[in-house]
């Protein structure tokens, strides 16, 4: 009887030890690893909630729900606004575009060169981080 109790409590102690070793991390959102679709050497048209359409010409686009991971691309907004970059993330739900490497933004009167740009599609505004260069053309 005593040996059974020892085995039982030993088993409970073992379970307690195992569960205590498991590190439960807080529920962080993990990006989906596998894309829903992959497009290569593509030219696509997009819309963001009634806003004027824009086009993406890219070497590779990975589509995850409302998020697009884009490589070697040019995104053309109307009228005559173009964003070039090696890597971009387009959040269609928020209507924002992150351009991260070798970024060039070309608009009516100027060109911007940088390494990190956040472009707001609806507001037609962008923020350039990490030091950039803006060329203001002649008027």
């Amino acid at each position: 009887m005593i040996s059974r109790l020892v085995v039982f409590f030993g088993f409970i102690a073992l379970l307690f030890f195992i569960f205590s070793q498991i590190n439960f991390s807080p529920g962080t959102l993990v990006k989906k690893k596998v894309p829903d679709f992959v497009l290569e050497n593509s030219y696509t048209r997009h819309y963001v909630r009634g806003e004027p359409k824009f086009t993406i010409q890219a070497k590779r686009i990975e589509i995850y729900d409302h998020r697009l991971e884009i490589q070697d691309a040019v995104v053309r907004f109307q009228p005559s606004i173009e964003v070039f970059s090696d890597t971009m993330t387009l959040d269609l739900a928020k209507g924002i575009l992150w351009a991260n490497q070798n970024v060039m933004v070309r608009a009516n009167q100027f060109q911007y060169f940088g390494t990190k740009v956040l472009y707001d599609i609806k507001q037609k505004r962008f923020t350039g981080y990490n030091r950039g260069k803006l060329l203001l053309g002649s008027k």
Binding site: I81, V105, A107, N108, Q109, F110, Y112, G114, Q123, K124, R125, F126, T127, G128, Y129, N130, R131, G132, K133, L134, L135, L136, G137, S138, K139
Partner: protein, 171 residues
């Protein structure tokens, strides 16, 4: 016929004055494409040809084609160094207006004033308000002084008095 064509060409060339391209570098930019406005902040460097301006902030509005530059403004152009709190660069007129802790250095001449208007093309500066010019041991004080940078010549309007205060050399 030839004369009229020449006159027409002259007028076309005189009135089609274009602003030169400007390169602006900064740590952070906020750009509004729809209104063609931007704010450049921190370690701002503005270059147009030989002109180089450094400051902490620059804002641009396309309506008037002005670049408003403020906070620790420093301008370098050929032998000229200008420091001020605020500087407005009119790209169309190629003119600069500066004020606040104003100081201009050109070789051995040092000028402090309240405000200035700098016309880049003829390279002439109009100092407005109380102005002090120091050249070696000589001190000139006056109001509304015009400085021709190329000729290194100082002049003043009719109602302005210039006072030369030479400091005797100690021997």
């Amino acid at each position: 016929m030839k004369t009229s064509l020449f006159i027409l060409l002259f007028f076309v060339l005189s009135f089609s004055k274009q602003s030169e391209p400007v390169q602006i570098q900064a740590d952070r930019f906020e750009v509004d494409i729809s209104s063609n406005q931007f704010i450049a902040e921190d370690n701002v460097v503005i270059q147009q040809g030989e002109i180089m301006i450094t400051a902490k902030r620059a804002t641009y509005t396309s309506k008037r084609d002005f670049i408003n530059i403020d906070k620790d403004v420093s301008l370098k152009y050929q032998d000229l160094n200008l420091k001020s709190d605020v500087l407005v660069f009119d790209r169309i007129k190629q003119q600069m207006l500066a004020e606040g802790h104003l100081k201009v250095d050109n070789r051995d001449i040092s000028i402090t004033s309240e405000r200035l208007r700098y016309d880049i093309d003829p390279n002439i500066i109009l100092f407005v308000g109380e102005t002090t010019v120091v050249q070696k041991k000589n001190v000139i004080k006056g109001r509304n002084i015009i400085y021709d940078v190329n000729k290194r010549k100082l002049s003043s309007s009719e109602k302005t008095q210039m006072r030369l205060e030479s400091t005797p050399t100690n021997r």
